[in-house]
Symmetry: C2
Subunit: 367 residues, 2 copies
C-alpha cells in the first residue's frame, strides 16, 4: 500500500462490524439508535449507519446538520442549544427541509428565542430538554428541569417531545472506569427526571442518553428509549482504555512516515498536533493512556511528545529497527478530534487494499 | 458587530503592527526574515509579510508549499525532512515553479533519496541541514552534522547552502522563561556548528534560527543570518506568557457565544477542542497559563474545561453578569493550532468594523 502521509486510514471490515454491532445492540434492547456523526463527519458513513438501522443522526452544530440535509439525510437531532439570531435564521431555513428536526434546549432564554423564531417562520419546532445529571456541561439540573419543561410546554412554536442527557464515563460527577455503575446511574437519573416531568402532565416520548463506552449498559436501562453513541464507528485508544472494546475493534488510524531518527531512542514521524490533536493527554485519569496513541506495528514505541507537525516516539528496548521512510499506523487516543483535522480518509480492506477515498464532509464545521 | 460564532477574528491594525515590527527588527539586525506561515496558513497574510520585507516564507509541509506556489509565492523554505517517493515526486514537480526552493535534511537516507530524485528530474535542489541543538525533535546533533554535511556536499543533485535550528523556549534542553539565555544559547550553538562545517571547506551562506519568543535575541546573535518566527503575526497567550509580547499585541481571537449557564459558577460557550485545540494545556510548565485562553471581556472568567464543542468557563466572584446569547472574545493559548481548525477568519478594525473575510488557504494541509 503506497499512500502519501499522514493519511487517515479506515478499515472497511471493522467499520462495518462496528456499525452492525451497535445497531444489533439497539435492536436487542428495543431502543432507537441515533448515532452522533461528530466522530466521522462523513455523509457516506452516516448513510451506512442509517442503512444498518439507525433512526436518524445526532449532530452538535447547525453547519453539520446543513451538510447532512444537503446530502438527503433528513432525520436530525441537533443535541446542542441553538443560540443567536444568525443560528436561528439558519435553523428555521433548515427545518422545512427535514422530515424530522429536533433541537436541544437548556435555558428559558434559549427556548424563548427559539419559540419566537419558530412562530415568526410559521413553524412548530420539535425540541428536547437537555438535563445535567452530573457532567457539569450544558443541561439543566434538578428542579429547574421541571420548571423549564412547564414553560416550554406552553410555547406554541415549540413541541417538547423528550429529554436527553450526556454523562460519559462519570459516576457521581467523578471520572470512572466502572461503566456498569456509570451507565446505571445515567439511566436512573435521566428516567427519573423524565418521569417527574410526565407526572406534571407533560407527555415525553423520548428519553435519550448514552455514549460509546456506556451504550451497552444504557440501552438496557428501563425507560431509556434512545442511545446516541458516536465514537463506536471507529473506536480509539480511549474506548479501548475504557474497556468497552478491544484494539482489534479500532477501525481508524493515521498512517505516518518516519522522517527522522537519532539512531538511539527517538523516532520522529510526520504528524503532530495538527494531525492527531492533543485532546486526550497521556497519563490523565481515569484512562492513564501511555502516549498519544498506539503504534500498531510496535508496542515498544511510545508516542510521547508532539509539536504541530512532529510526532516524537520513544524507542524502548526491544523495539524493531525502524528506519527513515518506514510507515507506521497509529491508533490515536481520540479519533473524533483527529478525523476533524483531515480533509479525507482512505478506506482499505485486508490491511492494504485501497477501496476508495471518503470525504470528511463536515470537517471544520465550527458554526 | 453581528457575527455567527465561533468565528476567528483578526484585528487588522494589530496584525499590521506585528508584521511591521518583526520586519523592522530583522532590518535593524541585518538578518533575513523568513516567517513560518504555519500560524496563519493564509496566502493574503503571507503576501503582507513579503510586502513588509520578508525575503520569503517557511513552511512545514509540501502541501503548504504547493498552495503558496499556486498563489505566486515563489521563495519557500520547507523546513522539514521531505521523505518518501510520493513526497519527492511532488517536490520535484514544485521546484521548477519556484524562484527559490530550499528543503530541510537531517539524515543520510533522506539526503540520498532527495539527491536521487533531484538528479532523476534533472534538478539541483537547494538544501539546508537541520541541526539539533537541544530540542530533541528533528535535526542531527553534534559531530553527525559535520559527517552529514560532508556527504551531502558530494551529492551532485543537492546544493547545501546553510543550516537551520529550532530550539524555542529551552535552555540546556529544559523549558525556560529566560528568553535572553535561551536565544543566546541557540545562536551560539547554531553558529558554532556552521563554523565547524565551514572549517571543513564547505561554504554555508545561511545560518537560520529563531522562533517568536526568541526572535529579538536571536536576531542580535553574531553569525545568525536569518530568523523564522511564525506566531508573531497574531501572538497568543503562550507568547504573552513568555514575556515576548503584551496582551494588546494579540491580533487574533475566537468570538464565541454563551449557549448555557448554570446561573452560578459555570458558563458554556459554543467552542471546545474542535474550535480552540487543546495544544497548550493550562498549568503546564514553563508558562502555567490559567485556562485554555484569556476572555478579553472579563478576567474573572476562567476557561477551565473543554469537550469537542463545549467550552466550560468558571465564573469567579466579581465576574460580570453574562447571559445566554452574549458573545465573548477569547485569545487562545496556541493560535497556530486554533487557526488550523477554521475555514476562514474575519478581519476587523476598531474592534467591530468588518473589513473582509480571509481564507485559511492551507488549513488541514496534513501532507
Amino acid at each position: 500500500m503506497q499512500l502519501d502521509t499522514p493519511c487517515l486510514v479506515i478499515d472497511a471490515d471493522r467499520l462495518e462490524n462496528n456499525i452492525r454491532g451497535m445497531a444489533d445492540l439497539a435492536r436487542r434492547h428495543h431502543v432507537a439508535l441515533r448515532p452522533h456523526i461528530k466522530t466521522h463527519k462523513s455523509v457516506e458513513i452516516a448513510r451506512m449507519q442509517l442503512a444498518a438501522g439507525a433512526c436518524g443522526i445526532t449532530v452538535a452544530k447547525v453547519s453539520e446538520a446543513e451538510i447532512m440535509v444537503d446530502a438527503g439525510i433528513d432525520d436530525i437531532f441537533i443535541a446542542y442549544p441553538v443560540i443567536g439570531p444568525i443560528k436561528l435564521e439558519r435553523l428555521t431555513r433548515l427545518a422545512p427541509r427535514c422530515r424530522r428536526l429536533i433541537v436541544g434546549i437548556d435555558s428559558l432564554a434559549g427556548a424563548k428565542a427559539l419559540d419566537e423564531a419558530a412562530r415568526a417562520a410559521g413553524l412548530k419546532l420539535e425540541v428536547r430538554l437537555e438535563v445535567d445529571i452530573g457532567f457539569a456541561r450544558t443541561g439543566i439540573a434538578g428542579d429547574g428541569a421541571l420548571d423549564l419543561a412547564r414553560a416550554v410546554s406552553r410555547m406554541s412554536g415549540l413541541d417538547l417531545t423528550g429529554i436527553f442527557a450526556f454523562k460519559a464515563m462519570t459516576l457521581a460527577g467523578k471520572p470512572t472506569l466502572d461503566l456498569q455503575a456509570a451507565g446505571e446511574e445515567e439511566g436512573r437519573l435521566t428516567v427519573a427526571l423524565a418521569d417527574q416531568i410526565r407526572a406534571d402532565g407533560i407527555p415525553l416520548a423520548d428519553v435519550s442518553a448514552g455514549s460509546t463506552p456506556t451504550a451497552a449498559v444504557i440501552a438496557a436501562q428501563p425507560g431509556i428509549t434512545e442511545i446516541r453513541p458516536g465514537t463506536y464507528v471507529f473506536n480509539d485508544m480511549a474506548t479501548v482504555g475504557s474497556g468497552s472494546c478491544q484494539l482489534a475493534d479500532c477501525a481508524a488510524g493515521v498512517l505516518v512516515t518516519v522522517v527522522s531518527s537519532n539512531g538511539q531512542d527517538r523516532l520522529v514521524v510526520d504528524g503532530g498536533s495538527k494531525t492527531f490533536s492533543t485532546d486526550s493527554q497521556p497519563g490523565t485519569p481515569p484512562l492513564c493512556l501511555e502516549g498519544f496513541g498506539r503504534i500498531l506495528e510496535d508496542g515498544q514505541l511510545v508516542f510521547n511528545r508532539m509539536t504541530e507537525e512532529h510526532g516524537m516516539m520513544l524507542v524502548k528496548p526491544g523495539a524493531k529497527d525502524h528506519q527513515v521512510g518506514d510507515q507506521l499506523l497509529v491508533i490515536p487516543n481520540h479519533i473524533c478530534t483527529t478525523v476533524n483535522l483531515h480533509p479525507q480518509a482512505v478506506l482499505i480492506r485486508n490491511r492494504s487494499e485501497i477501496v476508495r477515498r471518503i470525504k470528511i464532509d463536515a470537517r471544520g464545521c465550527v458554526t
